[in-house]
Amino acid sequence: MPEIKIKVNQLTRVEGHGNIHLEASDGKLEKVLWEVTESPRFFEWMLKGRNYDDVSTISSRICGICSIAHTTASLQATEAAFGIKLTEQAWLLRKLLYDAELLESHVLHVLFLIAPDFLGADSVIPLVATHGDVIVMAVRMKKLAYNLAEILAGRKTHPITPIVGGWSKLPDADALRDVRERLVKCLDDAETMVAVVKSLAPMIPNFNRPTEYVALKDSKEYAFITGKIASSDGGTFPLEDYQKITNEFCVPQSSAKYTRHARASYQVGALARFNLSSEQLLPRAKKAAASLGMKAPIHNPFFISVAQAVETVHCVEDAINIIDRLLARGLHDEEVKVKPRAGRGVGIVEAPRGMLIHDYTYNDAGEIVSANCIIPTGQNHASIQHDFDALAPAILDKPVDEIRHTLEMLVRAYDPCISCSVH
């Protein structure tokens, strides 16, 4: 058998810089590496000495795709440190903004970044000619998510109005009513998206590697910004004990740290959430999962994107429900009072691609003394590497282009935020 050498420099259609490196000869795998080459930005050091009022503004810049997730985790960490509890209105608005984050990110990933892999295209651009209806729908869904975020937060990327303890400005009720109508129509779009995913599903590689799945879990709802840390290998953990799960360590091929818990690696993200909480999905999302034949637990990492499609339906339903509650109770101006105090606070949310942790220690003046951020993709890098270790030997007899493409698809399935993971 010939020698195989694969080197993908700066993998495309993912956020950030990562390489794939494979070497094999005589049908034997010698090396397969997922390398993270992204430049570190040192956000934990940037945050030192910053006043609480500027902290989420800076830390949201860790990521341009999931900046609402970073803002939310950051605010919740500061609020935990200061002992602040949000009002019901402020909390509902925060959850609604979070639905906008998931909707936009999942549509971007599934229909713009992943779909070309299944349709033999290099990007979404040629699909405008061949699959115009779906692309127009995808642009419509993304735009709706942006508009919902704009109404609530001033903008989608790096939100402005969410502040420690509440909101600097409330949304306009008429704008919420208008966006609700578009969300109702978007439910049909989200179900069409599920149908598109179903039509592509037969092309999903048949690869299963059971592992540990970690996500937030809540007794009352499908958890995005509530609950405790849960593991499919057993046990729940209070947020403050996240380091018992993450156990970060460095490897030379990655400028992002790795994590491990019960096994050599664990997985976070939409599939982890689905595996741990699928029974709590809202009705139409449950129906969507059933139409796709999804039943937890699913151990194929390529199904992460399928779970994202199901979650897209869920978050549109959730957004409509929250708007109804907000409009029924009426929007009222609320004064935000913040009294800084020394102490530590941990905020954990489910970013579109998994569990995101911000941990801050403040002094009496409300300035950060130390900060620690752990990013979902950072937790998934080891899982990607272990998937490579299992997948590559099984496909070595395939043509080189197919091996390369399958490994690329595997990384993309995780929807990695690589620069975010290095931060």
């Binding site: 700066q10 495309t12 259609r13 993912v14 956020e15 950030g16 810089h17 430049s39 570190p40 930005r41 040192f42 934990e44 050091w45 940037m46 006043n51 500027d54 503004t57 800076i58 810049r61 860790i62 990521c63 341009g64 795709i65 900046s67 971007l108 713009f112 970044l113 070309p116 290099d122 990007s123 979404v124 651009i125 405008v128 127009v136 642009v139 419509r140 993304k142 735009k143 942006y146 937060a153 001033g154 903008r155 989608k156 990327t157 790096h158 402005i160 109005t161 502040i163 909101w167 600097s168 400005k169 460095c250 030379p252 400028s255 740290k257 620069s419 975010c420």
Partner: protein, 249 residues
Amino acid sequence: MKPKVAFFDFTSCEGCQLDALNLDVGEVLGLLGAVDIVNFREVKTDRSDDYDIAFIEGSITKESEIPRIEAIRKQAKVLVALGACACTGGVNCLKNAYTADELLKGVYGECASYYNTIPARPVSAVVPVDAYIRGCPPTTSEFLKVVKAALLGKRPDIPNYPVCTECRIAGNVCVFQRGGTCIGPVTRAGCDALCVSSGRFCWGCRGLVDDPNTNSAKDVLARYGLTLDQILERFKIYNSYSEVSQCQK
């Protein structure tokens, strides 16, 4: 022949690239009709090193990024800095308050030697830049405005007056009158004072206006009992590379 356009990302959150393309369907089709996007790693797989206009996102924070940006500069007829990290260095330059050793050992501990970093800097500190699309993130409308100007070989009409002007037009109560601090008086407008209109203040993400009225800015601080230090702490969030941020009280 349509102009060939390329996007490149350096050290950044990659939000600008995706935000720039937050277009309506008509705008997407208009853009695709006017240019050929030949290199855009975040969105497409095929790439070409033959391009006319290069959009650069991110700042320069590693030795290996210097030859890469130099090669892009050599190829591109027009090089556009996209977003605060590329234009002013952005938040990335906050790390320049520490030495590389402090940062690497602080974050990576015993594994520090695996990695490297140099003081963060804007693109213009390494190679000449032809146009700037400012902000963190830039607005989609300004992105389109600069693209159109680049295609016509013209200079885009970007405001060169402070955010205060747009803030007045928006009808906002002055942040200083509300008891806060704001970088608006010295920051280049073009965002329609979005942050102040959203109930907050200006962080200065679009960088300094060309000829800031520093005397007037000092008067404002004096009137509201603020020190230069108080305002500089916030100014440095996006502009710590600027020589103004080095100024003493």
